[in-house]
C-alpha cells in the first residue's frame, strides 16, 4: 500500500502544500510556523557558514563531553523551545479570547496547539533546562571533574535533542497528535487518528525519555561516587540533595512512560490490543501507567527548582540555609510521596471511593513537606542582609504565587472538589500556577544566578528585573482569571464556547499573555544587551555574588578540568567558611596531571540516527528505520573496541593557569555585597565574618 521508498510521506504531508490547497487562516498559521522553522534553520546554517563557526561548533561544542558545555547546550535547547511554547500559548489565549461561537483556528489545529504546547513545555523546555542546570552546577558544587559517565551524558543530550527535533519537524511534515500532552488512547489509537500525529508524540517522548533515564543514572552515580574529599552527604549544598531526588524520579518514573508509550505504539503499528476499545483492551491502564510517570514527573521538575531557590535565597541573604536537615528530609519525603499519589489525576475514572480517599489523603500530605520548605526559606531571609537582585525577585514571585498554586492543589486533592472542577480551566490554572512560578521562575533565577559562572560576565540587571516583573505580573493576569472561568464551568481545551459571560476573563488572560510575550522579549533583549556589554559586566575572577559553595571558588568560566586540585571540604557552605577564615584562594603545594576524556562524535551520531529513525517510523519508511538503528548500534559497539579515549593535561599547564588566576584575584579590589551589581564587580567578593561565627545562631 505505502510507497517502498517514501512510506506514507507524500506531497500532502507538507503543511505548506496544505495551506496552498486550502488557504484558510488556520492553515496559513500552520504554514507560517512551518516556514519559520525552515527559514530559521536555513538562516542558522547560513550564519554559521558566513562567520565560519562550523569548526569551533563541532570541535568545542557538539563533540564535547565536558559537563559544562553539555549543560549550556541543554539550556540553549530549552530556551529555543521555550520561545515556541510561549508563542503557542499566546496563540491559544488569542483563539479563546475570540472564541465565542468560533475563533480563527479550526478545532483540530487548536488541539494540535495544546498538544504540542504541553509536550514541548514539559519535555523540551522544563526537562532540558533542568538537565542543563544540573549538568552545569552539580559537579562543580560537589567538587568533581566531570560526570561519572561523560560520554553517556553526551548521548543523553543527543536523545533529548532528537525528541525536540521531531516535534519541530512535525510543523513541516505531517501534523502532531491532537490528543493532548498525555495522549490518551483510544482517541490516539489507530482507529481514531490513523495519521502520523500520535506517532510523532510516541517517538519523540520515548527517545527523549531514554535520554532522561540515562541522565538520571548519571546524576545519581556522580553524586554517590564523585564527591570531593570531605564532601559528606550532609555537607552538600541543598541543590545537590534535590538533584539526588530528581535522579531517583528520572530513574524510576520514566519507565512507566516508556512502557505506556511503547504499548500504544504496539497498538498503532502492530494491531495489538493493550488500550483499544475492542477485544479485551483496557485503555484505563494507559491512564494509570501514564500518571505513574506523570505525577512523579511534576516533582522531577519542581524539586530542582526548590534546590535553586535554596541556593539563591541563602546567597542573597548572606546566610546559611535555615533548617538544613529539615530541608533534606522534606525533599526526600516529597520524592517518595510523589510515587504514591498518581491516582489524583483520574479521580473521576470510576474506582471506588475508598481508593479515591486513600490517594486524596496522600496528595494532601505532600503539602506538609512543601510547607516546611517555604518556612525554611522565609526563615533564611529573616534578618539576612537581603539584596533584591533578579533571582530574589523571582523568588519573591515564587513565594506568593506558588503558595496559591499549592493551596488550589490541596483543594484538587479532595476527590469531591475534583469531581466538580474536573477538566475545567480551574485545573489548567492550577498546574500552570505551580509549574510557572515553581519550575520556570526557579530555572530563570538559576539562569541569572549561574550565568556569570558559565560565561564570565553577568547578565544585565535592568533588563533582568523587567523580565522578572513581567513574568510575575504577566503570569498573574494570564492564569488567575482561569481559576474563575474554571469555577464558572468553562471546559479546558475548548477551541470555542457559547457563553458570553466567559469573555471578559478571557480578554484579561489574553492581556496577561501579551505581558508574558513581553517577558520573553525582555529575556532575549537582556541576553543581547549583556553580550554587547560583556566587558563592563565581566566577572572573570569567579565570585560575583559572594557565593557560598564550591562552584564560586574557581574562575569564570571554569577551566575544562574544573578544579586545579580537588578541594578538601571541611564544612557545609565550604567556600563561605573558607573566605571567612582566610583559607580561600590558597595555592596548592603540588599540582598533578589530570586525565580527561577525549571529545567524541558518538552523541551526534546517536542524535542524527535516532532522529532519522523516529522520522522513518512516523512515516513508515521501514528501510530507513532499520538502517539508522543499525548504524547507531554498530557505532556504539564499535566505540567499545577503542581503549585510547582520554588525554592528560600536564601539571605544569594547570599550575601556570591556576597561579595566573590567583595572582589576578589577589590584585583585584574586593567588592562589597551591596555593590555586586555595579560595573566594578570583577568577581572578587569582600570577605566578611560569617553570620554563624559567633554564638549568635
Amino acid at each position: 500500500m505505502t510507497d517502498p521508498i517514501f512510506g506514507r510521506l507524500d506531497l500532502s504531508s507538507l503543511s505548506v502544500w496544505r495551506a496552498f490547497q486550502d488557504p484558510s487562516l488556520s492553515e496559513l498559521i500552520g504554514a507560517g510556523a512551518a516556514m519559520a522553522v525552515i527559514l530559521g534553520a536555513l538562516a542558522t546554517l547560513a550564519l554559521l557558514t558566513w562567520i565560519r563557526l562550523w569548526g569551533p561548533l563541532w570541535r568545542d561544542w557538539l563533540t564535547s563531553v565536558d559537563h559544562k558545555r553539555i549543560g549550556i547546550m541543554y539550556c540553549a535547547l530549552a530556551l529555543i523551545m521555550l520561545a515556541r511554547g510561549v508563542i503557542e500559548g499566546v496563540l491559544m489565549r488569542t483563539q479563546q479570547a475570540f472564541g465565542l461561537h468560533g475563533g480563527f483556528l479550526t478545532p483540530d489545529h487548536f488541539s494540535e496547539l495544546f498538544s504540542t504546547h504541553g509536550t514541548i513545555m514539559i519535555f523540551f523546555v522544563a526537562m532540558p533546562f533542568i538537565a542543563g542546570v544540573i549538568n552545569y552546577v552539580m559537579p562543580l558544587q560537589i567538587g568533581a571533574r566531570d560526570m561519572a559517565f561523560p560520554v553517556m551524558n553526551q548521548i543523553s543530550l543527543g536523545l533529548t535533542a532528537t525528541g525536540a527535533a521531531l516535534v519541530m519537524i512535525s510543523l513541516v511534515l505531517g501534523e502532531f497528535s491532537t490528543g493532548g500532552w498525555a495522549n490518551y488512547p483510544p482517541y490516539t489509537g489507530a482507529d481514531f487518528q490513523p495519521g502520523p500525529g500520535p506517532d510523532y508524540w510516541i517517538w519523540s517522548i520515548v527517545l527523549a525519555g531514554i535520554g532522561t533515564t540515562l541522565s538520571g543514572i548519571n546524576f545519581a552515580v556522580t553524586i554517590y561516587k564523585e564527591r570531593a574529599p570531605g564532601m559528606h552527604f550532609l555537607r552538600m549544598p541543598i541543590f545537590c540533595w534535590t538533584v539526588i531526588c530528581t535522579s531517583i524520579i528520572m530513574i524510576f518514573a520514566l519507565p512507566p512512560l516508556t512502557v505506556a508509550a511503547l504499548m500504544l505504539a504496539a497498538d498503532r503499528y502492530l494491531d495489538f490490543h493493550f488500550f483499544t476499545n475492542d477485544l479485551g483492551g483496557n485503555m484505563m491502564n494507559y491512564v494509570n501507567l501514564f500518571w505513574l510517570f506523570g505525577h512523579p514527573e511534576v516533582y522531577l521538575l519542581v524539586i530542582p527548582a526548590y534546590g535553586v531557590f535554596s541556593e539563591v535565597i541563602s546567597t542573597y541573604s548572606g546566610k546559611r540555609i535555615y533548617g538544613y536537615m529539615s530541608m533534606v528530609y522534606a525533599t526526600m519525603s516529597i520524592a517518595v510521596l510523589s510515587f504514591c499519589v498518581w491516582l489524583h489525576h483520574f479521580f473521576t475514572m470510576g474506582q471506588s471511593a475508598n481508593i479515591n480517599a486513600a490517594f486524596g489523603i496522600a496528595s494532601m500530605a505532600i503539602a506538609v513537606p512543601t510547607g516546611v520548605k517555604i518556612y525554611n526559606w522565609l526563615a533564611t531571609i529573616f534578618r539576612g542582609r537581603v539584596r533584591m537582585t533578579v533571582p530574589m525577585i523571582y523568588a519573591t514571585g515564587f513565594f506568593y504565587l506558588f503558595v496559591i498554586g499549592g493551596l488550589t492543589g490541596v483543594m484538587l486533592a479532595n476527590p469531591v472538589i475534583s469531581y466538580q472542577v474536573h477538566n475545567t480551566l480551574f485545573l489548567v490554572a492550577h498546574f500552570h500556577n505551580v509549574i510557572i512560578p515553581g519550575v520556570l521562575f526557579g530555572l530563570l533565577a538559576g539562569y541569572h544566578y549561574w550565568f556569570p559562572k558559565a560565561f564570565g560576565f553577568r547578565l544585565h540587571e535592568g533588563w533582568g528585573r523587567a523580565a522578572a516583573l513581567l513574568w510575575i505580573v504577566g503570569f498573574s493576569f494570564t492564569f488567575l482569571p482561569l481559576y474563575w472561568l474554571g469555577l464558572q464551568g468553562m471546559p479546558r481545551r475548548s477551541a470555542s464556547f457559547g457563553d458570553p459571560s466567559f469573555q471578559p476573563m478571557l480578554w484579561l488572560a489574553l492581556f496577561g499573555g501579551m505581558l508574558i510575550l513581553a517577558a520573553l522579549g525582555s529575556l532575549m533583549l537582556q541576553l543581547w544587551v549583556s553580550i554587547r556589554n560583556r566587558v563592563q559586566l565581566a566577572v572573570p575572577l569567579g565570585d560575583p555574588w559572594n557565593g557560598r559553595s564550591l562552584e564560586w571558588s574557581i574562575p569564570s568560566p571554569p577551566p575544562a578540568y574544573n578544579f586545579a586540585l580537588l578541594p578538601q571540604v571541611l564544612d557545609r557552605d565550604d567556600f563561605a567558611e573558607a573566605k571567612a577564615s582566610g583559607r580561600a584562594y590558597a595555592e596548592p603545594a603540588v599540582y598533578e596531571d589530570i586525565e580527561m576524556p577525549d571529545n567524541t562524535a558518538i552523541g551526534m551520531i546517536v542524535c542524527v540516527c535516532s532522529t532519522l529513525m523516529g522520522l522513518a517510523l512516523v512515516f513508515w519508511i521501514w528501510w530507513l528505520a532499520v538502517l539508522s538503528l543499525g548504524v547507531m548500534v554498530v557505532s556504539l559497539i564499535g566505540r567499545t573496541f577503542r581503549t585510547d579515549l582520554s588525554h592528560v593535561i600536564p601539571a605544569a599547564q594547570i599550575a601556570a593557569e591556576h597561579r595566573a588566576w590567583l595572582a589576578r584575584v589577589r590584585a583585584a579590589p574586593a567588592v562589597d555585597r551591596l555593590a555586586e551589581t555595579h560595573d566594578r564587580n570583577r568577581g572578587r567578593a569582600m570577605p566578611e565574618r560569617p553570620f554563624a561565627a559567633g554564638a549568635a545562631e
Binding site: 554517590y224 561516587k225 504496539a266 483496557n282 505513574l292
Partner: protein
C-alpha cells in the same frame, strides 16, 4: 573480604588493582540501570495481570490452549544452568584462571542462551499456529509484550557475550574488559531472575489446575 568490597555483587578483588577500583563506579551505575529496567518489567507484569481474565481474553484462546509446560521446563533448566556457567566464568575472571577458561565458560553460556532462544521461538511459532496472537485479544497482547521482551533481553545478552569474546581476543583482559564482564554477569543473572517471575506468574499461573 569485608572492607575490600567496593560495590554490591561479586567484586574482582583487590589483586585486580585499577580494574577493581574502576568497577566501583561503573558497576554501581549498571545496578541502577538494572533497577530501572526492573521497573519496566514490573509494570509490564502488572499490565499482564490486569488482563489475565476472561474479559481480557475476549473469547479467544486461553493459556491452556497455547502453553507447553514441558518446553517451558526445559527452557527454565537451560537458563538456570547458564546462570551457573556464567558464574563459573566470573569466578575464573576473579581468580585469574586465564582467557581460555573464561572464554570457555562464556562460550557455554552463549550456546545455552541460543538454545533457550531457539526453544522459545518454537513455542511462539506454536502459539501463532493456535491463534494465540497479540492481534487476537488484550490478554495475548500483554503476553506478547512481556515474554518476548525478556527474550529480547536474552538476545541482547547473547550479542553482548559475543562482543566480549571478541574484545577478550582483541584487547586482552584489560581493566575495561574486566569491568564489562562483571556488568554482563549482573545482566545475565538479572535475566534469569526475571525468568523466575515469568515461569511462575505467566506459565505456572496460567496452567494452574
Amino acid at each position: 573480604m569485608s572492607g575490600s568490597n567496593l560495590h554490591p555483587g561479586l567484586n574482582l578483588g583487590a589483586r585486580h588493582g585499577s580494574a577493581h577500583e574502576g568497577a566501583e563506579t561503573v558497576v554501581f551505575g549498571f545496578w541502577i540501570f538494572l533497577m530501572s529496567d526492573l521497573v519496566i518489567f514490573g509494570l509490564v507484569f502488572a499490565s499482564y495481570l490486569t488482563v489475565a481474565n476472561p474479559l481480557g481474553m475476549a473469547g479467544g484462546p486461553g493459556p491452556a490452549d497455547a502453553f507447553d509446560l514441558r518446553s517451558i521446563f526445559v527452557q527454565t533448566m537451560i537458563l538456570l544452568t547458564s546462570s551457573l556457567t556464567f558464574g563459573f566464568a566470573t569466578l575464573a575472571l576473579r581468580h585469574e584462571k586465564g582467557r581460555t577458561v573464561i572464554a570457555g565458560w562464556l562460550g557455554v553460556t552463549l550456546l545455552l542462551g541460543l538454545a533457550f532462544l531457539t526453544l522459545e521461538l518454537r513455542d511462539f511459532a506454536h502459539m501463532i499456529e493456535v491463534g494465540a496472537v497479540p492481534q487476537r485479544s488484550g490478554f495475548w497482547s500483554a503476553f506478547w509484550g512481556l515474554v518476548p521482551l525478556h527474550g529480547l533481553h536474552v538476545a541482547l545478552g547473547c550479542l553482548w557475550i559475543a562482543v566480549m569474546l571478541a574484545q577478550m581476543a582483541l584487547l586482552g583482559l584489560v581493566p575495561v574488559v574486566k569491568t564489562r564482564l562483571l556488568r554482563l554477569g549482573l545482566f545475565w543473572h538479572f535475566l534469569d531472575l526475571i525468568w523466575v517471575a515469568i515461569f511462575s506468574i505467566v506459565y505456572l499461573g496460567g496452567l494452574m489446575p
